[in-house]
């Protein structure tokens, strides 16, 4: 007779608690380092090595613990030092380079001086130093899906269990599947992949399907160039997703789970594979989960990098071993999906939202967010903002709060111009829309969409024609080629936009753009084609002036389109003898003028903008103008002949 799931689980929980207690009570300081892809990119490996080296050198005992990413990308590498003996609360240090790590080990860990000039704040409320929880970047967020990200070690299943993970599973195994689905439906959870289909209804349909061998697929094929929350979740807290998938498997009666994750995310693949292995080892996956009669196992499938595979039918085709081309629905995957078996496909965030809902009840979830879109939304806010990173806010939060209060607004005192939401499928919103609440329906009404949750903020220097061209370049390459309108239409749209950005736009081009966009929208089967023209349509609607300037004046208002701009050096401001621009120019376009100042040769200049960055701020002499003919012409003096050349010339002269 197998012990009941509750008994089995409490044994796991005891073991996890024991390990947690042992770690917490060890009488040494603890150093927590964020080690997800973005942290590693910012140098977290070097930081960790520097701590290890410094601790050994100074003879200080401390424990280093690697955690996931907490979403504060602007502050990477993030380190939290918990040094109770010093009398200080745990302190959050941003941008800890290897040098800073050595310094902190010496001053804080050895001598007890936390070097307050380097801190962001304490992680808990206290009387000594301000807590980060008082900052808008922290206290305006509501974390449901990402709650444990950056707090637990993603490589250690016990850490997740000690934080309350897998606690709902024993309940789930003993409840009726219909009850679980009712809870999810009552919570009003909608698919976090972007379309917002009610998850409860999807699960109920899959449950009703009679065919055997049902499948649960977690869609982690995050193809939007600019969104990375799914990757962060997989790298920082894989078990919450696994727990959600087991719950789904139990609810619909499936025995197989597949996590479809991009092969371009090697760390995510490794972390989630290890997590599955650990869960199997503890009896949380495999045959007879926690001693119950449920069999459910998960495997990882590596997606090979095709944007269209984010679409569920294309994703299924790709797992089956074919080109990832969408197919007609119905039959929907819940009736006949992978190899004809009933299949539930949900996004990473949807599965990650399931355990908290079951833990706290559907009413708790309903109280967060809006009536039609309960819960939270995760955005990756990047581009021109002071504090870029991952932000989880309740649905219904306004764009203004998100961009200006939480992410700190636009840097360098520039003006806000637009925000692009939802990647290549989404649209732009302009200043009048800043008070739009963020939820599935309001965004769709304004012409953008929730999509992947990628959000790129653009300041006054952005050219929306150029960014639209960028998106069309992407969708045109990623179109699978099945539908004529998508295959040829995106190519035509791209051609038109390229013409505009090169200054070759003609009268009537803008009408043509509008018409082709609408045709592509109507004539395509899947989401890729239906949404590909969105960037063009919304920018035409809200930023028509930008387009007109490109066509009529051959001018790029954002000074981004390189054929339409020119660089020159303001000779009034240029300093004699300064050589910063000449030294950095990759193509030797900078020359010395007659009065020993510098000029730019427009025939050689590739317009990379390096000289603008290099020119010392006290001179600030390099100017960028559009259209290019506004740049004054500075003549390049003829090259000075060297004495040897002169001699050679003289020797050639007859007589």
């Amino acid at each position: 007779m197998n012990p009941a799931p509750h008994q089995m689980f409490s044994r796991l929980k005891d073991e996890a608690d024991r390990r947690r207690k042992e770690f917490a009570e060890a009488p040494v300081p603890k150093i927590h380092i964020g080690m997800a892809t973005c942290g590693i990119a910012a140098g977290a490996q070097e930081t960790k090595a520097a701590f290890e080296e410094a601790l050994a050198r100074l003879g200080v005992a401390a424990r280093i613990r690697t955690v996931g990413c907490c979403g504060h990308c602007y502050a990477e590498p993030v380190v939290i030092i918990d040094h109770p003996e010093s009398g200080f609360p745990p302190i959050f240090y941003p941008e800890v380079s290897a040098g800073k790590a050595g310094m902190l080990a010496n001053f804080f860990l050895k001598e007890g001086d936390p070097r307050l000039e380097h801190i962001l704040g304490a992680t808990v409320a206290n009387d000594l130093i301000p807590s980060v929880m008082e900052f808008p970047r922290f206290n305006l967020e509501t974390r449901v899906i990402m709650e444990r990200c950056g707090r637990i070690d993603p490589e250690d299943i016990h850490d997740y269990i000690a934080e309350g993970g897998y606690a709902t599973l024993a309940d789930v195994l003993e409840r009726s599947p219909a009850g679980i689905i009712e809870d999810i439906a009552a919570a009003g959870l909608r698919g976090r992949g972007g379309a917002g289909f009610p998850t409860g209804r999807k699960w109920a349909l899959a449950r009703e399907a009679k065919a055997p061998g049902k499948v649960v697929i977690c869609n982690a094929d995050e193809g939007d160039p600019g969104a990375y929350m799914d990757r962060t979740l997989l790298e920082s807290n894989p078990h919450q997703i696994i727990e959600g998938m087991i719950t789904c498997g139990c609810a619909i009666g499936a025995d197989t789970g597949i996590i479809y994750v991009r092969a371009e995310y090697p760390l995510a693949v490794r972390t989630v594979t290890r997590a599955i292995h650990q869960a199997r080892g503890l009896g949380l996956l495999g045959k007879g989960i926690l001693g119950s009669s449920l069999d459910f196992d998960i495997e990882v499938f590596q997606g090979s990098g095709a944007f269209v595979c984010g679409e569920e039918t294309a994703l299924i085709r790709s797992i089956e071993g074919f080109r990832g081309m969408p197919v007609h629905r119905p039959p929907y995957p819940v009736e006949g999906g992978l190899n004809g078996r009933p299949t539930v496909i949900n996004n990473v965030k949807t599965f990650a939202a399931v355990p908290p809902i079951l833990q706290n009840g559907p009413d708790w979830f309903r109280r967060i967010g809006t009536g039609a879109s309960p819960g939270t939304a995760v955005f990756s806010v990047v581009g021109s903002v002071v504090h870029p990173g991952l932000v989880e806010v309740p649905m219904g939060t306004s764009l203004r709060t998100l961009i200006f209060d939480i992410c700190g607004g636009i840097p360098k005192k520039k003006r806000f111009k637009a925000v692009q939401i939802g990647g290549p499928s989404g649209g732009y919103l302009s200043e009048p829309h800043l008070d739009t609440p963020i939820d599935f329906d309001s965004l769709a009404q304004a012409g953008a969409m929730m999509g992947s949750g990628g959000m790129v903020v653009m300041d006054e220097d952005a050219c929306l024609v150029d960014v639209s061209r960028f998106f069309l370049d992407f969708t045109q390459k990623e179109s699978c080629g099945k539908c004529t309108f998508c295959r040829i239409g995106t190519r035509q749209l791209l051609g038109l936009l390229e013409r505009l950005t090169e200054g070759l736009g003609r009268e009537g081009d803008l009408d043509l753009l509008q018409r082709v966009s609408e045709d592509v929208k109507n004539g395509s089967l899947c989401g890729l084609g239906k949404t590909a023209p969105n960037p063009v349509l919304t920018s035409l609607r809200y930023f028509f002036d930008d387009y007109e300037a490109h066509v009529r004046e051959k001018r790029c208002p954002g000074k981004m389109c390189r054929p339409l701009i020119a660089y020159y050096i303001d000779l009034e401001k240029c300093a004699r003898g300064c050589n910063a621009c000449e030294g950095c120019c990759p193509v030797d376009a900078v020359f010395i003028t007659r009065d020993r100042k510098r000029g730019i040769d427009p025939s050689k200049c590739v317009k990379c903008g390096e000289c603008v960055a290099a020119c010392p701020p006290e001179y600030d002499a390099v100017r960028r103008v559009s259209p290019p003919h506004l740049a004054p012409v500075v003549e390049r003096p003829p090259p000075e002949k060297k004495s040897l050349e002169l001699e050679a010339e003289n020797a050639k002269k007859p007589g």
Partner: protein, 193 residues
């Protein structure tokens, strides 16, 4: 789908042929179901670092498919490449955030410096350049990867230094390995007589 840039397909080196033979003996452990096609191609690419025609033929034969069917699937996905990458593959991120911050200028600079286009490999097979859609480090834009090393907040002027660093590193290693050998193949004198 992306344009496939197939350079002159070079013959397999003896080392590659040996690895291909070894792969062949391992393939049967993966089964013959259609669903194994993509994992199998990934496995082949992990071993050989690209998919030479011989490997495509081998997979096709194993699964009982035509080579064109296998090539059709492989060429659909961005992950698979059909020419050998350089020893230091350079991947320039051209995601949205990187584009807005000038990722295409970084790409151009690498192309100019190494005198190859994206999707190509230098003649000495030391470098190759590819564009990638997003490596998920948008807060560090623009971003470039050289081998496994990620360079954030790239600038055009950093490009030269990165390429130089790789070359110097290689020279150092070669010297450490064999202090008497000339440091680069171009210094090798042709045999006399």
């Amino acid at each position: 789908m992306p344009f496939i840039n197939v350079q002159e397909s070079p013959g397999l080196s003896p080392e590659e042929s040996a690895r291909l033979d070894e792969l062949k003996s391992r393939l049967h452990t993966m089964g013959q179901a259609r669903g194994t096609l993509i994992p199998m191609l990934q496995h082949v690419q992990d071993t050989l670092s690209y998919l030479p025609p011989a490997a495509i033929g081998m997979v096709a034969e194993h699964l009982g498919l035509s080579a064109s069917e296998v090539y059709g699937v492989a060429s659909f996905y961005n992950q698979f490449r059909f020419n050998p990458p350089g020893r230091n593959p350079i991947k320039v991120c051209l995601g949205t955030a990187c584009h807005v911050k000038g990722g295409d200028i970084i790409l151009e600079n690498f192309e100019r410096k190494l005198e190859i286009k994206e999707g190509q490999t230098t003649a000495d097979r030391e470098f190759s350049i590819d564009r990638v859609a997003c490596v998920g480090c948008c807060a560090l834009a623009p971003v470039a990867l050289v081998g496994e090393t990620l360079y954030g907040k790239m600038q055009p002027s950093k490009v030269e230094g990165i390429v130089l660093r790789v070359r110097i590193e290689k020279e150092k290693q070669q010297r450490a390995k064999d202090p008497h050998e000339p440091s680069s193949p171009s210094d090798v004198q042709p045999p006399q007589g």
